[in-house]
Symmetry: C2
Subunit: 250 residues, 2 copies
Amino acid sequence: MTSSPKPLAQPISITANTLKVACSQCNLRELCLPLGLNEQEMHKLDDLVGTRRRVKRGTHLYRATDPFEAIYAIRSGFFKTGVIAEDGREQVTGFQMAGEIMGMDGIGTEHHTCNAVALEDSEVCPIPFAKLEDMSREIGTLQHHFHKVMSREIVREHGVMVLLGTMRAEERLAAFLLNLSQRFSSRGYAPNEFHLRMTRDEIGSYLGLKLETVSRTFSRFQEDGLVSVQQKHVRIVDPAGLKKLMSRNC
Amino acid sequence: MTSSPKPLAQPISITANTLKVACSQCNLRELCLPLGLNEQEMHKLDDLVGTRRRVKRGTHLYRATDPFEAIYAIRSGFFKTGVIAEDGREQVTGFQMAGEIMGMDGIGTEHHTCNAVALEDSEVCPIPFAKLEDMSREIGTLQHHFHKVMSREIVREHGVMVLLGTMRAEERLAAFLLNLSQRFSSRGYAPNEFHLRMTRDEIGSYLGLKLETVSRTFSRFQEDGLVSVQQKHVRIVDPAGLKKLMSRNC
DNA sequence: ACCTTCAGTTGACGCATGTCAATCCTCGCC
DNA sequence: GGCGAGGATTGACATGCGTCAACTGAAGGT
């Protein structure tokens, strides 16, 4: 159903039975924390990253209030992060895929402030944060790149604020699909055909909509020939049409 | 009209005619970047921070696409930050006051991604970012505190996402007022009486509402005896009532 | 002090999205 | 292979907020 991954630049095969895989050998390194490091620096990073941790679908990688010790690079799989307000309302704050970094919300308060849940069986590389700071003091490239990663998270959230603050349902869903498409694409997957890992309810929470509205909007897109949807399987038929939809009504 | 500032802990008088004022002498240091540094480290930081820059009301501190060179600590005044989507829609992403740090959105792309506009005559302390990274490699405390500042920005934005994604107009405005109240309070100003520096339109943009809705909601709060509003002057009459409003209807 | 301009308030009305409910579809499990 | 449960779809109806418009009030400049 889902398209198979195409290799990224310089693919490197990994022996299947080693749980600990070095950054220097990881085919995600161009998307992940090691970006920009030279050979020697990358090997130092290998020592930093802990052994990989499997997270089964539906289970938490961390929960709000857990003590903060590490950030996590996603080696494979798919996650959602979300916060729960005092009164119990839940808001999905993001969906994360391979090569992305999670857990930076915990630095400020020494404990996590979101929940992170695997939406499919996944693997993460824990990066003990105290050690990351130590190594950042030695390797300027690493320090700078980590700052970039955090900054981009801030900018990503600005984008979500624009979405939630100014867009109508159709525009929100179009923006969501195009964003997923772009991220799958940059990981070597087909940009226009993919499997949604999350439910309509989770999409709705992320987009500030009710699940019924998400479902109806998908149906409308299908009627209009923009996408073809069957449950969680999505094919973007008319990417340009989706883009145009987002810039109308200004 | 507005209450006068009460001194923070350990107030230190500043000679009025020096434009460059050291962090070590700044009465905002407990709120700002130097937090947690010892005497010696603080003096190093003094060399890092550039001369203060005045920003007149209504003018930009920086604009989206400006090359990124420094982050800014607000010495005095009040700012808004916002992004403009491709199609021209504007979304206010935050309001910043003394002691807060702005500009971290620019790290990831080497140029700023928001606009920052002074809502009253203000002063900022520019912190050249390359130098901050250099010094962070020497002073672990500074490095760690900077990471905390960025992390808290991420968490703050999560809060805005909850607001925009799940709250109704009344709840949004109540949350907004209580947030301002808390921040004024921690700067030594009266928590329950303050002057809004922004227009109804800017509040609306931040809260994902139209200015008419903001205005109507203020009026309703006044009828219900929660606040007393006259244009930009706000007095919170019943803080507990506002808080209760936010946790209803879950 | 007056005028101009911009911000804020208020009302009437419409629409997009939420709410409630019934039904259908899929997938995993026995 | 059939069954059960949860996810998804669709319809009918309700409502909160947006839109449009008129009016009021405050601030700033000459």
